[in-house]
Amino acid sequence: MKKLFAVILTLLLVLSLPLFVMAEETTTAPETLADTAPEEVTSTPETAEDTAEEVTESGTGSETEPEIRFGFYPETAWVTLPIMGMGMLGIFLVTLVIILAVLVLSKIGQNREED
């Protein structure tokens, strides 16, 4: 089992390298989306902060009818796939760190009890 986790950890780290390179693109996702998706897709507020302001000001949030044209836009995959990869990789890495931390904690707890 320990070997298996070591293999998984190594694999994740190796796989993460190209994704970290892609991260730079991910940070500019709204711009990329604007290039690839229909105009309406980009009609959201610029940042979450802008949106938060609207929510606070109106009290009930900005529930206006969004101007979104629904359909099938496979080109958006170029934006969401890196996010998907980064997200899953991020979860696995954080989880592995937590597992290691818990194993250390358990060891400390056991040693103390034995003492």
């Binding site: 089992m1 298996l4 986790f5 293999v7 991910t26 709204p30 989306l33 229909p38 309406e40 897709v41 980009t42 009609s43 959201t44 979450a48 802008d50 949106t51 938060a52 609207e54 929510v55 606070t56 009290g59 009930t60 949030g61 900005s62 529930e63 009818e65 969004p66 979104i68 044209r69 629904f70 359909g71 099938f72 836009y73 496979p74 995959a77 934006v79 969401t80 996010i83 998907m84 980064m86 997200g87 899953m88 991020g90 979860i91 696995f92 954080v94 989880t95 592995l96 937590i98 597992i99 931390a101 818990v102 194993l103 904690l105 358990s106 400390i108 707890g109 056991q110 103390r112 009890e113």
Partner: protein
């Protein structure tokens, strides 16, 4: 003015009633029915159902109304601004949830946490799907977080990202959480063989020290907070609730958090979220699409957990195989998902008790879903 005219004026508001509001009454009634008759998440579906009727009365004073150019504030909108727009209610609820969770089963076998991570696949896959059908990235992320199977996280993320569909997202999130016993079994059965479902897992007889239980919430908060700072409030409040449970010197606070605080916040949360169920915001065909995407999120979460367990089994020795069904418990809907897995295990072999393993995975799913929410905010917010 004749008596009849006065009587007519008295009831003139009836003419303001729209068919959309009537539909919302029916939806509200349906939520109340599901809560009472079917016992589906009654603590939230009932207030939401009643709230849906309340805010859809013509010119309802419960929500903000413009009267002759002057804004008359409604109490539900005031509550929304005070507790949801600033993400306070979901966070307070997390203190109660943290105080309710015993991380013991997870601490006895921490490796189970990996399934909690795998079972968040549905969130990111749904983000991919929602964006592909035309939702903008922030709305797609808010819809995807339905797959966290965790109401407060869904509210927090959707609100933070300023989603246009908070009402529909909430209804979908809580409805599917209640529908876990219906949604998960077919997916699990589809992806596993009978032989796999009968795999027995040994129960480790490990005693977790009090020190470990106390340090656990602190360490998790630090690790998660550093990696995903935007999830710090979510994980922090959850783990604070757990710390007051485990520390052993705040029993009274722990009990208050588990019962009084959780109940009070749930009461306000359910009623307040109804402001997003006003007919003009809710009755859109996008709502239907969100309900479908939410179902996808739950299905792919389940599939992610099960398939990851199957993948691990390829590498594991014969006597250490994992029952792949426990992977499905990683979706966080606590404790329904663990119960579902346990019952399915018993149905295949009535002496195969998977409960402790499933609970361990289930509570790890709770942590993983919060991490997923934080990562989404980091990547998109």
């Amino acid at each position: 003015m004749s008596f009849l005219q006065q009587l007519g004026d008295l009831f003139s508001n009836v003419t303001n009633l729209t068919w959309q509001q009537l539909v919302m009454w029916i939806i509200g009634g349906l939520l109340i029915y599901l809560a009472i008759k079917k016992d589906m998440e009654p603590t939230l579906l009932l207030p939401m159902g009643f709230g849906a009727i309340l805010v859809n009365l013509p010119n309802s004073g419960a929500v903000n109304q413009w009267v002759e150019g002057v804004l008359e504030e409604g109490p539900i909108d005031v509550l929304f601004a005070a507790g949801i727009a600033n993400e306070l209610f979901p966070l307070l609820l997390f203190i109660g949830i943290g105080a309710m969770i015993d991380f013991g089963p997870l601490l006895t076998n921490p490796k189970l946490m990996i399934f909690g991570a795998a079972a968040q696949f549905g969130i990111f896959f749904t983000l991919f799907l929602a964006n592909m059908v035309g939702f903008d990235l922030k709305d797609a992320a808010s819809i995807a977080i339905i797959g966290a199977a965790d109401g407060p996280t869904s509210i927090f993320v959707a609100n933070y990202l300023g989603s246009n569909y908070t009402g529909a997202i909430m209804v979908a999130a809580y409805s599917y959480m209640a529908l876990v016993p219906i949604v998960q079994p077919p997916v699990i059965k589809l992806l596993t063989t009978k032989k796999e479902r009968m795999i027995r897992m040994t129960n480790k007889d490990v005693r977790v020290s009090k020190r470990t239980k106390i340090l656990f919430p602190i360490v998790i908060t630090i690790i998660t907070g550093i990696v995903s700072p935007k999830s710090a409030p979510l994980i922090g409040f959850l783990m604070f609730g757990n710390l007051i449970r485990e520390c052993g010197v705040l029993d009274s606070l722990s009990e208050t958090a588990q019962k009084v605080l959780a109940n009070l916040v749930t009461l306000f949360l359910g009623l307040t979220i109804a402001t997003k169920m006003q007919a003009e915001f809710f009755l859109r065909w996008q709502t239907l699409l969100i309900i479908v995407l939410g179902l996808f999120a739950f299905i792919f979460d389940t599939a992610g957990g099960v398939l990851f367990a199957k993948l691990l089994n390829v590498f594991l020795p014969k006597d250490k195989k994992i029952n792949p069904m426990i992977g499905a418990a990683g979706i966080s809907a606590f404790p329904m998902s663990a119960r579902v897995v346990h019952k399915m295990g018993l149905a295949e072999d009535n002496s195969n008790f998977l409960l402790m393993h499933a609970i361990g995975v289930n509570v790890s799913g709770q942590i993983a879903s919060v991490i997923a929410g934080g990562l989404i905010l980091n990547l998109i917010g």
